[in-house]
């Protein structure tokens, strides 16, 4: 195997020590393997099409942004050993809440958005309460919440799409409608929450609670508060992503039973190296996972795949990306020993 740049051929290379610095970085950094997969995909699509044309880069960023924001909350929860399946329903509900507040109750635009996110926070709090205090596994708690909220949105909206309230139209450019605004929000939130996860007490406690619940409790960590807080964050982030998407698409769509976004976000977190069992994961990894998925979705659309084959190829591509990712991860761990 050549010792040049890390290409796909290096995936099966045995761990090298002290040799190529690039390879060393690749083996040491947790997220490096996802970067390799993402770069390889981008190179592939650029070769077969005009992938990096400016217009298309904007579209890719829009494929990436919303799942990234939702994935931030999922990483926090997954790291602390929990999951939130209801976030997709919250995502749909939040812009409707904004619409109700503005158009039915005359609330000004910005307070209306804050109000909508507060309600999302309360939903997260209920998720946390049922999980922590009533001790229902979060998978079940949030599954119930998924349907309950979807039903609430359907009932209150009469399943009818709503327009972005005229009063809020001035915020559109900043809140998702501008070409790059969604991505800027996503990157800013990734940065903030990566710092929170890596360098604050909250973040360290989150990892501790997920990695070793009993030990964390014995060490005096108030794990209930940490978990509830992370449920609230996940819901608020989900709601915020929903508001951004509503502004981007310029319409508020009723739920259609579609949970694609929630699955995309959880996949992004897991592809980015977050353990489903809890205790480890990074927000930047989730961003990279979302980039891999966004590149795949946009790229396959760009080269003109049809909907039926699209699902087939997308599924296989996710598997392939994940297998390379896991293999690289094993190499990385072997190299560290």
């Amino acid at each position: 195997v050549s010792s040049a740049a890390p290409t796909g051929e290096d995936l099966g290379a045995p761990p090298r020590r002290g040799g190529n610095p690039l390879l060393t970085v690749l083996l040491r950094r947790q997220e490096a393997s996802v970067v390799v997969v993402a770069v390889a995909l981008i190179i592939y699509f650029e070769v077969v099409s005009d992938f990096l044309a400016p217009g298309n880069v904007v579209t890719i960023s829009q494929y990436v942004a919303a799942p990234t924001i939702v994935a931030i909350g999922e990483v926090l929860l997954l790291v602390s050993g929990q999951i939130d399946l209801s976030v997709g329903s919250v995502f749909v509900l939040a812009p409707f809440l904004m619409h109700y507040a503005i158009d039915f109750y005359g609330v000004p635009a910005i307070p209306a958005i804050v109000l909508a996110l507060l309600v999302c926070g309360v939903i997260g709090l209920v998720n946390g309460f049922v999980t922590v205090v009533l001790e229902v596994p979060s998978f079940i708690t949030t599954l119930g919440m998924l349907f309950a909220i979807q039903g609430f949105t359907l009932t209150t909206s009469h399943a009818y799409p709503a327009e972005i309230p005229a009063k809020a139209a001035g915020l559109a450019t900043v809140l998702g409608h501008g070409d790059w605004s969604e991505l800027v929000w996503a990157l800013a939130l990734v940065l903030i929450f990566q710092v929170v996860l890596s360098y604050t007490r909250w973040g360290l406690h989150t990892v501790a609670v997920g990695g070793n619940p009993v030990g964390a409790r014995e060490a005096g960590i108030r794990s209930g508060r940490i978990l509830m807080g992370n449920f609230v964050l996940a819901s608020v982030l989900g709601g915020f992503a929903g508001v951004l998407e509503a502004f981007r698409v310029n319409t508020i769509s009723p739920p259609t039973g579609d949970q694609t976004l929630m699955f995309t976000a959880i996949s992004a977190a897991v592809i980015g190296g977050t353990a489903l069992a809890g205790g480890s994961g990074t927000i930047i990894g989730a961003l990279l996972g979302a980039v891999v998925l966004g590149v795949l979705k946009d790229g396959f659309n760009l080269i003109g795949l049809n909907a039926y084959t699209f699902d087939l190829i997308l599924g296989l591509a996710i598997l392939l990306a994940m297998i390379s990712n896991v293999r690289l991860d094993k190499l990385r761990k072997a190299g560290r020993r």
Binding site: D50, N56, E163, N250, T251, N301, L305, N306, F310
Partner: protein, 375 residues
């Protein structure tokens, strides 16, 4: 003198239908007219030679690839639409069009798919405009990039198409509703009539029930028309309809404006043998249960919106638009006011075709008998 004529001119003249006398006079070079005629024939012949390779008599074109953006890409209703677009593309020697969008009416995904198609410099777009505002910008973007856009199957609301698309190919939803209303008025004189709708407010079915209401009002008959939401899944719809019918024994007419509810109406009418009581009933679309019910007489009619044409015609229109340099504008085309009744349901049941999405096979479907009264 004739043998001094260039063989190319000789050959070109063979393409011009002329009586022999004229032909001889032309070849002998008599008169100014003959020269111009020869010249034009020559030009025609040459241009035909240089452009052979296009579909039929058309000039050759690049293998244009069109993109269809759909709201429910894997829904069986749209299988014939996909066959239609593929068949039209094959007929015209084009690349197989791309079928993309969302599996679950996710408007965000549809917008992204549209934007990607613009980045990919698609040769033409056909979009199911299921949302009034979401497609305004993407369609403008495509049109500014020189990509022609038509809408199919759904086209915003009755009063506002929601985009600057060149034309719409699909059912005129409101008109189809008024046609339904006229049928209702024709078959029921007075009393209670119910209209079921899966999800009120949905842009691809609400205009139908609005149209029906209007037609009933305008008729001046004393019908009591009630709109009832039946639910989003076929199971919900059947239960709702069954319960409603049991609770309203005096119903004179039972109608529906979406495929699932129509099937539910058919099954309920059969279950309680309501045709024996003279209840009128009908609905929309051609799912197998509905067709069977029409054949057995438990449903009076269903309205076919011909999904095959909603794939075939957009390709044809986009092709002509590009071929003519924009001179041939895609016209709004109503694909859907075909009433299927017991008289004409047989072919739908006895043959499996690409036109109904029930077969992948290309075949010539024979028919016989008079055509009168089948529409």
């Amino acid at each position: 003198m004739t043998n001094r004529v260039d063989p190319a001119v000789e050959e070109a003249l063979d393409t011009v239908p002329l009586p022999n006398v004229a032909r001889r006079r032309l070849l002998s070079g008599a008169g100014l007219a003959s020269a111009s005629l020869a010249a034009s024939a020559l030009v025609a012949a040459c241009s035909k030679n240089s452009n052979s390779g296009g579909a039929g008599d058309f000039a050759s074109t690049p293998k244009w690839k069109f993109t269809f953006v759909n709201h429910v890409t894997t829904n069986p209703f749209f299988v014939p639409t996909q066959y239609g677009m593929q068949d039209a593309a094959a007929l015209l020697g084009l690349a197989k069009p791309q079928w993309t969008g969302s599996e679950n009416s996710n408007v965000g995904e549809m917008v992204s798919a549209t934007n990607t198609a613009v980045s990919a410099k698609s040769d033409g777009l056909a979009i199911a405009v299921v949302d009034l505002k979401a497609f305004t910008d993407p369609v403008d973007k495509a049109l500014s990039a020189g990509i022609p856009v038509v809408s199919y199957n759904a086209d915003g609301s009755a009063s506002d198409p929601g985009t600057a698309r060149l034309g719409y190919i699909g059912q005129d939803l409101f008109t189809s509703g008024t046609e339904l209303g006229k049928r209702i008025v024709a078959s029921v004189d007075s009393g209670e009539v119910v209209g079921f709708i899966a999800t009120p407010g949905s842009l691809n079915i609400q205009p139908r029930i609005d149209g029906a209401k209007q037609a009933i009002q305008q008729s001046g008959k004393s019908l009591k028309f009630t709109q009832v939401a039946s639910g989003a899944t076929v199971q919900d719809e059947l239960s709702t309809i069954d319960a409603y019918v049991q609770g309203h024994p005096n119903l004179k007419g039972i109608f529906a404006v979406d495929a699932g509810s129509t099937q539910g109406v058919a099954q309920t009418v059969a279950k309680y043998k309501l045709k024996d009581k003279g209840v009128a009933c009908g609905g929309f679309d051609l799912v197998p249960e509905t067709l069977k019910a029409i054949n057995t007489g438990s449903l009076d009619f269903t309205i076919d919106q011909q999904p095959y044409l909603q794939g075939f015609l957009p390709v044809l229109y986009l092709y002509l638009y590009k071929m003519s340099g924009g001179l041939q504008q895609p016209p709004d085309t109503n694909t859907g006011l075909l009433f299927v009744t017991k008289d004409n349901v047989k072919p739908y049941l006895s043959t499996k075709t690409r036109f109904e999405g029930s077969s992948t096979k290309q075949q010539l479907v024979g028919r016989s008998g008079a055509i009168k009264g089948t529409k």
